[in-house]
Subunit: 411 residues, 2 copies
């Protein structure tokens, strides 16, 4: 038997019974608002920190006893998770932070953290008897589902608004996804994707809808804790659009805390773009998620109405954390700062987390010895146009050693 | 003491004495034509297949006793090597090849195999007392050196022709490289870079010039052999531009064979673009490397005069291998074939190796049970424009379930 344990509504706490045909609260009717819980005694009986230490750190299936899936072993065709946690000495020095790490989740198969969610959702769907998959996304989630479905030889349907950038659609097509280019907004494509999934019995991976996306994403926190020797960081900084990654990180630490594998919980910092800060406004205000007008180059966190906003705000508050907004200019400064000081290349959304770190450090809101992890959620090669905006082109030089000499001696 | 062992000219076999100021044959004067040899008894005394089995498969420094570097341990800031070797069941089925693997070297820090060479060259340069580095490159080698230098906090100077695409230059700048944009061709930038390196005592990483690039690249072969349980493949297919990766793969297997860790050597297949097939022409003809007019979209293997051509042709012949040329059209077909069947996204140069595989399989030149490894050398996200050429955009669809139904029922 798998471990579905219990699902409860994040808004009204009503209990939900697994119905892969529509993930919505049976009481208040809201879509995708379900929290997953486990029988932690049962997990303790089958896994421990010692049993993990004996297993090679190769992919995130090492945490299978903490995932909503049947017992393994899992043979997955691509290597998801087990990404590096880098101590980044150059960035530590630049920011005056002595215990800073970057969790480089760009090292996943489709170059973003989303693979953690897609992999778990694909296996969950197969367990529930589904053989086709669907998602609405123009970005990392769609690319991730298309990538991992292809590796598993399973068909997937990706709904994108007609206005989606051609380069992003090209990746979906390279992986052989069935791309449905919808005459409408992202929000309309999202709703149509849910409707079509019900009709065709496709298993739906939409962010902020399928509760197992949070369960997949939580493995990044499990890895951070294990990589730090089960001494969790004081602070984890991550970018937030829909807020699903934030809830995933929190869920991972909460699960470990309930198991008694870590003795305390970190505080979370949500980094949002100034042009997409619905979660920050809700967090700083009355907690209610209200739509905003999107205006940021950080496309992966550019969201009008965060689909996972309610849960994310609850999690931020539970962690004693905060929300920080950064301008596009600050994001564009953070990209080369990260590149120069670490050799890591982050897309604008991921760089927003670095920008938030810089802002907090500059405001004296971080202590020198604080243990901080910043999660890099997507690769800079996904958006080279943004990188072009972040740097100045070099002046041309004559092809002569004298020209080089003069240039070097004057720089 | 490090292991320089011996360097000999690939053309005239003259012995060379380590002089990091200019890697050229002391007798025939040719640049970058040096083969590195080791004292294999000494390696056997410090390493074995069993000692490797006891070490975690985490990066390519596990092969330090086979590298031209001082004894470790190495603490390198980014995780180079230890990339996955995927069995790719979907592609096996599509091509009727039962024992096919893809070595996914796009999983390196800068998303190409070149990181193996850059990492070894950087450490070698430090051992030789150098503190600044240089390379001429508009592509993967430059991005790789810029990435890893940044991680190590070392300055590097990258020479690019003024005509280099802005997006490629942007990556170099994100990593904080000193980019010298030269009014001249790539070949002129290459020569100027060698001259400037001599003058400023920069350690030069140019492909086909620094002999330790081949030593770094060979670790991909060491990993393939170890991942296959020291039973080497029958055939290894890799794309060739300058031919340096080809020589690196061959050197890795030759070293293992001399150590007695593998009992036979694979044959190599060089995949070249029709519009850049100098190595194929030399291999099929009299062995002499002659310049060609470059005309291919596969920029990472678009080369007029291969800098490592002589060595590559020798190695191909020694392996009993062959050279295969593929058209840009065949490369553009291989990209979505690989994507759909494996979930891997390769840049055109890497897809050229898949295209060569398809061509050989179609011509009946591969046996069903042959053990084949194809090396994927660079990530598809490095050249999304090429991906756009490889797929057709989807037709737009009305935002209504009826439109989706009709579309699905008719596809």
């Amino acid at each position: 038997m798998p471990l579905p344990e219990s699902l409860t509504c994040v808004s009204c706490s009503a209990a939900y019974r697994e119905d892969p045909n529509q993930y919505s609260c049976p009481k208040c009717g809201e879509l995708g608002t379900l929290r997953v819980s486990y029988d932690y005694d049962r997990i303790r009986a089958s896994a421990s920190r010692d049993s993990l230490a004996a297993a090679p750190f190769r992919d995130h299936w090492r945490y299978l006893p903490l995932l909503p899936l049947a017992a393994g072993p899992v043979e997955f065709p691509l290597a998801v998770g087990a990404t590096p946690l880098y101590p980044v000495p150059g960035l530590r020095k630049a920011l005056g932070l002595e215990r800073l790490w970057i969790k480089d989740d760009t090292a996943n198969p489709s170059a973003s953290l989303k693979d953690r969610a897609s992999a778990v959702v694909l296996l969950k769907g197969l367990e529930l008897g589904r053989r086709e998959f669907a998602a609405a996304s123009t970005g990392n989630a769609g690319a991730s589902l298309a990538c991992l479905s292809a590796a598993l030889g399973l068909p997937c349907h990706i709904f994108v608004p007609e206005s989606a950038p051609r380069a992003k659609v090209a990746q979906l097509l390279i992986f052989g996804a069935d791309v449905l280019s919808i005459r409408g907004s992202y929000s309309e494509a999202f709703s149509l994707c849910v409707e079509a999934s019900e009709y065709f019995l496709w298993y739906n991976r939409n962010t902020g809808y399928n509760p197992y996306t949070v369960e997949g994403k939580k493995t990044v926190a499990l890895e951070i804790a294990e990589q730090l020797g089960w001494e969790p960081p004081d602070t984890v900084v991550a970018a937030a659009g829909d807020g699903c990654i934030l809830s995933g990180i929190w869920k991972g630490f909460v699960d470990l805390h309930r198991l008694g594998w870590i003795s305390r919980l970190p505080r979370l910092v949500a980094a949002q773009a100034e042009g997409s800060q619905s979660i920050k406004q809700a967090f700083d205000g009355d907690g209610a998620i209200r739509p905003v007008t999107e205006d940021t180059l950080a496309d992966s966190i550019s969201v009008s109405l965060p689909r996972n906003g309610v849960m994310a705000v609850q999690d931020l508050k539970a962690s004693g954390g905060s929300a920080v907004s950064v301008s596009d200019g600050e994001i564009l400064e953070a990209m080369p700062l990260l590149g120069k000081r670490t050799g890591l290349f982050a897309e604008p959304a991921a760089a927003a987390a670095v920008a938030a770190l810089v802002k907090l450090a500059g405001a004296g809101e971080l202590s020198r010895a604080e243990r901080i992890v910043v999660v890099s959620t997507g690769h800079g090669l996904k958006d080279v146009d943004a990188a072009l905006q972040a740097v100045d082109p070099p002046a041309p030089l004559d092809c002569a050693i004298d020209a080089v000499r003069e240039r070097i001696h004057h720089s």
